[in-house]
Symmetry: C2
Subunit: 467 residues, 2 copies
Amino acid sequence: MTFTIQQALIPTDSCYQTVDVQIIGDRITAIAPQLEPVGTLIDARHQLLLPGFVNAHTHSSELWQRGAIAPYPLELWIAELHEFSPLNPEQAYLSALGTAVETLLSGGTCLVDHLVLIPGQEIETIAASVRAYREIGIRAFIGPLIQDQDLAASIPNGQARRRIAPFPRTTDEILDMMQTVVEKFHAPEQGISIMVAPTGTQLCSEALFNGCMELSDRHNLCRHAHLLETRAQQLLAQEKYGCSAVAYLHKLGYLSDRTSLAHCIWLDDADIAIMAATGATVVHNPLSNLRLGSGIAPVLKYRQAGVNVAYGCDGAASNDGQDLLEAIKIGALLHNITDADYRHWLTPREAVQMATLGGATGLNLAAQLGSLTVGKQADLALYDLTNLSLLPRTDPLGLLVMGRPTQVVKTAWVRGEQVVAEGQPTRIDVADLRQRLWAESAWVGDRHSTTRDQLEPHYRQVMGLPE
Amino acid sequence: MTFTIQQALIPTDSCYQTVDVQIIGDRITAIAPQLEPVGTLIDARHQLLLPGFVNAHTHSSELWQRGAIAPYPLELWIAELHEFSPLNPEQAYLSALGTAVETLLSGGTCLVDHLVLIPGQEIETIAASVRAYREIGIRAFIGPLIQDQDLAASIPNGQARRRIAPFPRTTDEILDMMQTVVEKFHAPEQGISIMVAPTGTQLCSEALFNGCMELSDRHNLCRHAHLLETRAQQLLAQEKYGCSAVAYLHKLGYLSDRTSLAHCIWLDDADIAIMAATGATVVHNPLSNLRLGSGIAPVLKYRQAGVNVAYGCDGAASNDGQDLLEAIKIGALLHNITDADYRHWLTPREAVQMATLGGATGLNLAAQLGSLTVGKQADLALYDLTNLSLLPRTDPLGLLVMGRPTQVVKTAWVRGEQVVAEGQPTRIDVADLRQRLWAESAWVGDRHSTTRDQLEPHYRQVMGLPE
């Protein structure tokens, strides 16, 4: 596609300017005021143009349980999540589509789907989400969520002696499945990439991490995982390895400049130094971290130490919206209470840079994505500055990041293809999606999880909570 | 007006039921399944009916500076706010209207406007906001923001000796103005109430508080103020009174069951006991508290101590959206990181009750408002549960509170009058409002506050920050 975006407002280092942007094929080919128009002309007056945000961590199929799980910490919340996840591939398709719609309409053009697989239908789950992302036209990194240990293993033993059930599949079977997935679906030049994404040290063996690294090296895949989301995980790492989970992953060789790690809340200064030295990226999921009571990731410290930070929504069962602007807002403001010196606080401009270039960097794509730069991919979003939620006019980025924008994304492109027009996805029928999500679901009032009941007494004991 | 809302979903103690609700005049007259229809029939199938939320603290005219102020703590932020507030009454009217629109469209039917007055045009400012609220039909409590000390007095002295300029108006002049305001505008039976609302102990004399209490007693007015929003204010109270600001206000007699106090972050256990004993209400403004780095109000402790808690957005210059659902969400989730025992965490149901009955209680209106109860005022909102942001169907309150609802309020009534229909205010032209907000404003990139510059060195010194 060839087009010229005319008279868009774009941020400069400390202010704004009005420019035209020329796109040929999938690339930005020129940015300057009053360019010679080429191709289709896009009137961008009264609109802010930004590179697309990256939602650097989500789990699309959790959409089926958004709003459903009562306030619990991760280790109990996840028991309930697993108990009520009897999905079929068609539902996985619909939740991927729903997640992609909310991403696009909040300025995201790329998402990382740490995809929960339906047992026995792993390949079909991935095929369904790939189909959804290709249809809607979003750039997607799919990291099939794998583990080779039973859920109960994610809670530290403490003083207790427990028998933990073996995992129903062997490590080799899982790695073979991953090899098949890479061969079938990895197509980065078409906007679909597979990542290796063991769920985290709390549920994965060393052999699984080693197998993932091999795959990653062989096929040049990005690496992903959860890391030190909860205090329980911090205790568990000490129990399992006698060192922090960061030191352990570093020893294995998992940390690199194409490794992104979700959460990173319970890291100490030595861990932060390792993250900086290896070039690994922290994916900050502020809303999920609050909802699960996990804590506040030390994002200001990361930035001071030179660690790259990106934003994620996390799955919809632990952040029940999938709006990137909300995650960026809370992930900017939240840190003001962690440091009395306001000179360290994040500005709206810095938050936008984390959501764009920070996200691209975590996917090893900083040379291709994440800024308005000639030669980069045309993954772009235009925001309607005449929207009531962005009025009266003041500082456009301040309004977008610190306000509560509502339906402000007017147009978006991925790889030069238009995927949003007039505030609606262009390639799918949203009314039909709504109807299908409605039809496949039912109101629940007061549901009860027996798996959670089983884990709860041990969890409370090991975490020092009263009975 | 007489009407019957048919087949609405309403929350019960732990689940939901489908009912009809009959309204005659300004009151709810019956609630039951399949009522005999009277008056206009409202089809509420697939909609959730809730009592209207109360936005228990905002400053409407700050709308003109939303998105504009960089991340600063309150004491420096406010210097910038004051420096760039050259409003006229017509602008005050427009910002009141804009604030009311965002309140109504996020489920609020009542707001507390701690209204910043234009110097020399105090009565005109209030008249303008009263006009806006009457026009749009929202229930409003207007607390003219008064002080009788210069802004610099809000920063503790520490070791420094400072000359602080006298305030340009005397305490008596201010109290006379308030008397006039009450006589002219206080009309609770028409949905417009005046409150006494000295800004807080940091900028008000004892005489001003005493005068406000007299007015409150004489005219049965609610009382409002800011309270211990920042650590600087905690230090200042010790410096000025040798005790906490709560103990000081209690000694004056300002605390009562018709007193609501915004923020309440830096209270200790003795202060909390005073709040509980006096029946005063805490207004929790979580987004503003994060944006200004003020801290986290100990809301779980308040509830355990029996202190009533309501939610507020705070003004749009310190929480740049005015969406109550966002304030409720963050004001529910935020506290999960303050207490490891998840059994103390707020549920979506509890958060909704704080936003409804909690808000009404703070305005001494618990017998009139805040729940779906026969005999109470018909201040109601219907939410469209077929909206994409509330799908798939799970737990409706979970979706509403923990999700990211977008344009979900379909219909709303205040005092039995319909004020929102099909997701739009019925009594004003929103397109015209947008156009006027646009016309009265301009983009600003990089603005600079000289007042802030003047206060900053002393602030940093007294707060122990490096130069």
